[in-house]
């Protein structure tokens, strides 16, 4: 209880500090430069593009505070804090942020699917003239409709039938195309790159000699260890043979190689997660609170 009160007090003080600094314009402002573009177009076809600018450029012509982007920055910062609040326990702020994330992600995915999938790959084949005149002007004039693409159009409709409470089996046809395509590609690819390829990578000389004929002891040891590691680990994976006697000893060695592999994986995972946290804190301290200025954007 005492710790909770202390925490609440600290957060209150920090909040007040943020409000005081924000009201003096000493943090969280985004500047942009207004540029008329494109430069080679006639004046009636130009529009104003707002490029990112820095506070030290604020006296230059066209540079001013961008209120939409400033509002966005504050929303981004508060959403970041809302997600971090999960560390204190599940709460309303976190749940709101999570709900917002789910909605925005799904919406973005749908828009990307429509433009980069349906418009670009389907409609541009079935109605190239219409798409050329509206969305993708680069489609050549000579392109005619490809009526073979009626098939994926029908399959798309069948896939969407999954939303219907009845006739769910209709979506099996396009799903079967998915599964068959994936199986067909992966069978050959994994065999080539991950089976044959890895065996090839493992066939290395156990005694290595340099170009001048001298014996390279270090590389020889590395190669011996590598081959031993692969073979002993594969022995461990042979579950159809009983692991007794020599097989047991070799598979035990394989387990140790695997433990080193997993240890490396764990160490690298920690490194990765910490880097992500550092990036978020840098955003809060630099872009929002203006407590640091590593890029010399404000001084």
């Amino acid at each position: 209880m005492k710790a909770d009160k202390l925490l609440a007090g600290i957060l209150l003080v920090l909040g007040l500090l943020v409000i005081i600094r924000a009201s003096s314009g000493d943090m969280g402002m985004v500047y942009t430069r207004a540029v008329s573009t494109p430069s080679d177009a006639p004046p009636e076809l130009r529009w104003t593009k707002y490029e990112a600018a820095t506070p030290i450029e604020s006296n230059e012509p066209g540079v001013a505070v961008s209120w939409p982007r400033t509002l966005g920055l504050w929303i981004a910062a508060l959403l970041t804090l809302a997600i971090f609040s999960f560390l204190l326990g599940d709460n309303v702020l976190y749940k709101l942020a999570e709900a917002l994330f789910v909605g925005v992600s799904a919406g973005y995915a749908m828009v990307a699917g429509i433009y980069d999938g349906i418009v670009s790959k389907l409609l541009s084949k079935l109605a190239p003239g219409l798409i050329r005149d509206s969305l993708i002007p680069g489609i050549p004039e000579t392109v005619e409709p490809d009526w073979l693409y009626v098939i994926p159009l029908i399959l798309s409709g069948m896939l969407l039938w999954r939303l219907s409470p009845k006739g769910g089996w209709i979506s099996r046809w396009p799903i079967a195309l998915f599964i068959g395509t994936t199986a067909g590609y992966r069978m050959v690819t994994y065999f080539e790159a991950d089976f044959v390829g890895q065996i090839q990578n493992t066939i290395v000389p156990l005694l290595v000699f340099a170009a001048d004929g001298s014996f390279d002891g270090v590389q020889s040891i590395k190669n011996i260890l590598m081959v031993t590691g692969v073979l002993s680990t594969l022995t461990y994976f042979f579950f159809s043979v009983e692991h007794v006697g020599i097989v047991h000893r070799v598979s035990r060695l394989g387990i140790w190689f695997l433990m080193i592999t997993f240890g490396v994986g764990f160490g690298m995972t920690v490194m990765g997660r910490i880097a992500l946290l550092a990036a978020r804190l840098e955003f809060l301290f630099d872009d929002w609170l203006w407590l640091i200025d590593p890029l010399n954007r404000r001084s």
């Binding site: 970041t80 909605g103 799903i175 199986a183």
Partner: protein
């Protein structure tokens, strides 16, 4: 026949066309067509996902189940993002085609979708994963125990990697009187990663490859029909 046989045939034929095309290059154009159809369906799957999400959350709101307020926010966020994205609100034309108002990229700079992506999606996405750093530190204290030889090997290796991948490795062993090959950074860069780790990863990849090949073969010959679901 419509519900099970034809889908199995579709899966087999699609897969076999792709396998054959790998070995008979003139058949590659058929494979490319199948691949194009796949990509269209992959894009439609996003629409299916979005619509499904809409349906589920709308159901939750209408049933007034606990937490329906959050579902309402999800639906509002989804709808707004979809509308501003589809109608390219705020998106300028492409600079190469200034006379065509709809030619701009849907996530182009200055557009409302770009604003949503930059100031809502990005911080939420990034911070969700940044939380993991805290949980990993808590797990390090509470759960990572060297209970046996194997666990000890794992933890020692992890510790060497953690120290060697930062300046700590240099502080501890980066001195002239220590053989360069025995310094922590060198142990990680020249031994742990390319020798021990690579050998374990190779064996794992070989095992996975065999599994994938056998599963794919079962799909192509029609033995594995789990993707059809349990309905009749």
């Amino acid at each position: 026949m419509m519900k099970r046989t034809i889908p199995v045939m579709i899966a087999s034929i699609a897969g076999l066309v792709l396998v054959v095309a790998h070995f008979i290059p003139p058949a590659q154009s058929w494979a490319d067509e199948v691949s194009s159809w796949f990509q269209i369906l992959a894009a439609v799957a996003f629409i299916l996902g979005g619509a499904s999400l809409f349906k589920i959350h709308l159901q939750k709101i209408s049933d007034q189940r606990p937490g329906w307020g959050y579902s309402a926010l999800t639906i509002v966020a989804f709808t707004v993002t979809l509308i501003v994205g589809i109608f390219k609100i705020g998106v300028p034309p492409s600079e190469s085609f200034p006379s065509m108002p709809w030619s701009g990229d849907y996530v182009g700079d200055g557009g409302v979708l770009w604003w949503i992506f930059t100031y809502i999606f990005t911080p939420l996405n990034a911070t969700m994963f940044a939380l993991l750093a805290f949980f990993i530190s808590s797990a390090a204290f509470r759960a990572f125990r060297a209970k046996n030889t194997e666990a000890m090997i794992l933890l020692v290796t992890a510790t060497v990697v953690l120290l060697g991948q930062t300046y700590a490795g240099t502080l501890l062993t980066g001195y002239d009187w220590i053989n360069p090959h025995l310094q922590l950074k060198s142990i990680v860069d020249e031994w742990l990663m390319p020798v021990f780790n690579a050998s374990g990863q190779r064996a794992i990849k070989i095992g996975i490859a065999l599994g994938i090949v056998s599963t794919s073969l079962k799909v192509l010959i029609g033995t594995d029909r789990s993707y059809l679901g349990n309905e009749e």
